[in-house]
Amino acid sequence: MVNSATNVSATHVTKLGSISNLAAAEHAALAKVLASLPGQVGSAGPDAGISAAKLLVKGRAPLPPRRRPSAGGLESLIGDDERTRVLDSSNAPWRMICSLEIISPQTSLVGTGWFAGPKTLITAGHCVHDVALGGWASKIIVRPAQNGVEEPFGSLVATRFSTTDRWFQNRDPDFDYAAIHLEAADALPITDQTGWFSTAVVNDAGLHAQRVNVAGYPGDKGGDTLWFHAKQILHLRPPRIYYDIDTLPGQSGAPVWLETDSGPRVVGIHAYGVGASAPGVEANSGPRITEAVIERIADWLTQ
């Protein structure tokens, strides 16, 4: 088992200057995909299920953010809980999302990951390495499209992981992402059916006020059922994306994706509740897919 922390430089997406006051049409005109990794539609069943047609959203939604009722700390449920359970998780795109049972040296945890390639899952860095919990995970049990007791694609056990130096050494939330490496002989028969997500670097104009989709395995629901929510992006920083979407612990590592005419494009990796918000922003967040991130993922896909 060779677990590794790999260096990621702090290069950023091309900035287009101050664009927050531009009209939606101007944002659209400046929108640009700067880089991408291709996804693949899996061979299992129909391309998209009933819930995908009902739930997934795309386009801009310049709505005011929802208000939180709490007078205390910052909650990961923003206002009323609007999450919806996905019952047909074996359909696209849900089947590319996996529950994670993480066995660490100190405890066991629940998280989420998503296929980025035929033998590679992407997740949050703290799902594979947390110095407070004894360092590297001992093993992670991956269950694609888990739906309660149903495991439509079985399960896989992983013992090889990678994360960034900045997470490994400094627990820097902006670099809190990782890869779970699967054995090809075990993974390929599954990912041939599930497919994997396309990953894309989109500039600020392209992401401004866009509605994004998040689905994962929250612990308050048992950590074994898939739950979904979609709302708009509220704030962007070069290494981070903030959104008005309800999540709870267990959803770390979930994909944050744009629905496009060409299919889903992952633009972020969910990792934190609103406690990690930028000043003045009440939003959940995660590392943003930048050119540096996509270069790192591309390297991980080869390992």
Binding site: T107, L109, V110, G111, A124, L133, D172
Partner: protein, 98 residues
């Protein structure tokens, strides 16, 4: 972002350990990774939390067992969460963290 290890035990009203429950931080004053921690057969669980104020919830098979507030100091601590009729009762435990 420093986050010391804090050890807790989840017990039912009779003091018996509750295994297989998921412990989640649902409200926090500082950044917290969104993973849920599962209790072991003796009810033990570990949280890596920085100092701050948190609201912690326990669920078993998707059923809410209760919530409580948790003040976390900068140093490791041990505590017991006891399920009571109104939620969770938090009791700090003196001694070294295991």
């Amino acid at each position: 972002m420093n986050a010391p290890k804090h050890v807790g035990w989840l017990k039912d009203e009779s003091g018996n350990p509750v295994a297989g429950a998921l412990i989640s931080v649902v409200e926090s004053s500082v950044p917290v990774p969104e993973v849920a921690t599962r209790t072991a057969s003796d009810g033990r669980f570990v949280l890596g939390l920085p100092s701050g104020t948190f609201r912690v919830a326990a669920h078993l098979a998707g059923r809410a067992l209760g919530e409580t507030s948790l003040e976390v100091p900068p140093t490791p601590q041990e505590f017991e969460l006891r399920i009571v009729s109104v939620g969770l009762l938090l009791t700090p435990i003196d001694g070294e963290t295991g």
